[in-house]
């Protein structure tokens, strides 16, 4: 029996001997990728930083995520503290990051730093996970977290609330820019997980009625510094 890989590949090559016509469009997308000049057709990402921040504010509000803008790290710390108090958090998980760790460590409740070989059960019992992010996409209101920049894979999904602390210069216009930034930043060594988070976890599976907090966080806070 031929091995499956070579058999499937030869089936494909055989099948493709008959050429299918290239779809014909009124304006041919061109460039390095089919998507490259699609940018002007996609939702706007904002040409200036002010436009981006306005878009982001609007998009996050529609997604039912909470955006808190603060001038500096101290104010970020206070913002986090007031959410923790208002929500009566008992235990907060975080990872070591210059923006995240000082803010969490100043909290009055119990704090728990996620390091390698943490206990999943313990993380599940936390009220909130606080992370940094790779980027924020104004065009869609998406927060890009990664297994490198955001304390692994679980911290941003397992606790019941997710708080992201980011700086204004992390706000990018659109997905395209975000992808090229990622390739430039990480090169061949991409984090094993990159995840665009667009609002708190949700489902419409019961009668197509929107419910937040299906399996992931029920609430998403974005504290934007600067």
């Amino acid at each position: 029996m031929a091995n499956a890989r070579s058999e499937i590949l030869s089936r494909i090559r055989e099948a493709l001997k008959v050429v299918a016509p290239k779809p014909h469009f009124k304006s041919e997308p061109h460039g390095n990728s089919a998507a490259q000049n699609a940018k002007p057709w996609l939702p706007d990402g904002g040409a200036t930083m002010t436009a981006r921040l306005d878009l982001l504010t609007e998009n996050l509000a529609k997604l039912k995520a909470n955006l808190i803008r603060v001038p500096d790290a101290t104010a970020a710390q206070q913002a986090l503290q007031s959410i923790a108090q208002a929500k009566h958090w008992k235990k907060v998980a975080y990872h070591s990051h210059p923006l995240v760790a000082p803010a969490v460590e100043a909290l009055l409740c119990e704090k728990w730093e996620v390091t390698s070989s943490f206990d999943k059960q313990k993380l599940e019992a936390c009220d909130a996970g606080v992370t940094s992010c790779e980027a924020i996409v104004a065009q869609l209101g998406s927060i890009l977290v990664s297994s490198v920049s955001s304390g692994g894979r679980s911290l941003s999904i397992l606790p019941h609330v997710h708080v992201v602390i980011a700086t204004v210069d992390q706000v990018t216009a659109d997905l395209e820019g975000c992808f090229s930034d990622m390739l430039a930043r990480h090169g061949q060594k991409l984090p094993s997980m990159l995840s665009f988070i667009t609002g708190p976890s949700r489902t419409g599976d019961i009668e197509r009625i929107l419910v937040l907090g299906a399996h992931g966080p029920k609430e998403l806070y974005v504290i934007l510094v600067g």
Partner: protein, 463 residues
């Protein structure tokens, strides 16, 4: 008549006669239409974005062997392992082997239609593993012992009272009418299962050749948990899911969300490029990807319908299809329902048994208009009808067409036939004729005009 056809006709007739259920489905889809239009309007040019999406898929599918090889090399250099499966049986065997080698007891799954296609759950359960569907809709369908109704909205036909009763029966929870509380019941129940599972199984929406990443789109966060907590992550994907560039996703992800669920972006769009890397604090130790052919290469060999491999499984064609809205998703009896299912199922599972689905269309073209990657769906239904007639015509088709040819090419005979028909029509209407009576059950046969068209033409000034 094929068995599948008989079942289809029976189920479709029952479902179409269920008025309240149809109203319920239409109501459930109402919110989708409104949100979809809002999100479409945020595109600066939706039609041209469709061109770009279509082209991105065309480029990958029409260079599939090279694109896949690039992808696989990249994927494996990131530490994952690829397994190739020619058909469903081979895919099941591979997955069973991986699970057995892991000494796993519990398996948790996130939504993946390809696993439905290969009937993975049955195979796993027969082998003695407990498998839990973690997507809320799939979880409900699993408890109901029913196939998904819609490949994006699996339980859109189930009412909240039924879900409440189902949870009471299986999970022992108190009755409630609130979708929110019902969702929380499932959330609490499933959370512990993620923590305990040894193996997590997911699908993939896109495979990115440039970076060797797989992309998973979801709203609930269950796929994120499935790929984070268990020790081993196994993903199953059709070979046609590959795209060339990471940047292609900057078009495809927003379009999938908008067309599929009326969202700007689905809640979690996650790219995985390998198992946990040194320096990362969690993630699976092993990451396997099973690449499935299962007759996709046959579809590829048909240049006319090759574009149906561009499908990104958004479900938009189902949501606008008058047939789907009337007969529902279960009647199809297929893994992929609606227009796209009617197009590809005959290729995947045999034209002879499944050609009847090509007739389950009003040819209105709503599906083709809705498709974000511009698959020529309603024409493909016609192509299937033609192909079925050419390759395996029924006795009736053969006799009918031969007779038709004979008569139509003889003008006198044609005129005579017309006269006889006009004359006998009132009588014919009264006797139940095979074929005709089924057609006439829901339609009126008008009475014949006194004169044939040719006679009228002659009598008029044209003559």
């Amino acid at each position: 008549m094929s068995n599948a056809k008989e079942i289809f006709l029976k189920e479709a007739t029952t479902a179409a006669a269920d008025g309240p259920q149809r109203i319920f489905i239409n109501k459930a889809l109402g919110g989708y239409y409104a949100n979809r239009d809002i999100q479409k309007a945020r595109f600066r040019d939706w039609e041209r974005a469709r061109d770009a999406a279509s082209l991105a898929k065309w480029e990958a599918v029409n260079d599939l062997a090279n694109t896949l090889e690039t992808f696989v090399t990249k994927f494996e250099s990131n530490g994952g392992k690829v397994h190739w499966a020619r058909d469903a049986e081979e895919a099941r065997q591979i997955m069973l082997r991986l699970i057995a080698a892991a000494n796993a007891k519990a398996v948790v799954k996130s939504k993946c239609m390809t696993t439905e296609e290969i009937h993975l759950n049955d195979a796993l359960e027969k082998a003695g593993y407990s498998v839990v569907e973690s997507d809320l809709g799939e979880f409900i369908q699993q408890l109901r012992g029913e196939a998904p109704y819609h490949f994006v909205f699996p339980c859109m036909h189930v009412k909240r009272e039924e879900i409440s009763a189902l949870f009471t029966k299986h999970l022992g929870t108190a009755a409630t009418n609130s979708p929110e509380e019902l969702t929380m019941i499932a959330r609490r129940h499933l959370r512990q299962l993620y923590v305990d599972a040894d193996v997590g199984i997911t699908g993939a929406n896109f495979l990115v050749a440039e970076t060797g990443q797989i992309s998973i789109t979801e709203n609930e966060g269950n796929a994120r948990l499935t790929a984070a907590l268990p020790r081993i992550h196994i993903a199953l994907s059709g070979i046609e899911k590959v795209v060339k560039k990471l940047d292609d996703l900057s078009v495809l992800l927003p379009m999938l969300a908008t067309a599929g669920a009326g969202q700007p972006m689905t809640c979690y769009n996650t790219l995985y490029s390998g198992p946990r890397k040194p320096g990362e604090c969690d993630g699976p130790e092993e990451f396997h990807l099973v690449l499935l052919d299962n007759a996709r290469t046959q579809l590829l060999a048909d240049p006319e319908q090759r574009d149906s491999l561009h499908c990104i499984r958004c479900g938009a064609c189902l949501n606008v299809c008058p047939i789907f809205k009337n007969i529902g998703g279960l009647a199809y009896g297929t893994t992929y329902q609606g227009p796209i299912g009617s197009v590809i199922t005959p290729h995947l599972r045999g034209l002879k048994q499944w050609n009847h689905l090509s007739g389950a269309s009003s040819l209105c073209g709503a599906c083709t208009d809705a498709c974000p990657v511009r698959i020529d769906l309603h024409h493909h239904l016609l192509h299937n009808r033609r192909n079925a007639n050419q390759t395996s015509p029924t006795l009736f088709d053969r006799l009918f067409h031969r007779g038709f040819n004979f008569v139509i090419s003889r003008p006198r005979l044609f005129a005579l036939g017309g006269r006889v028909f006009r004359f006998t029509l009132p009588v014919l209407k009264k006797i139940p004729l095979p074929y005709l009576s089924a057609w006439l059950k829901t339609r009126d046969l008008p009475s014949a005009p006194a004169q044939s068209f040719r006679q009228q033409w002659k009598d008029s000034s044209h003559g």
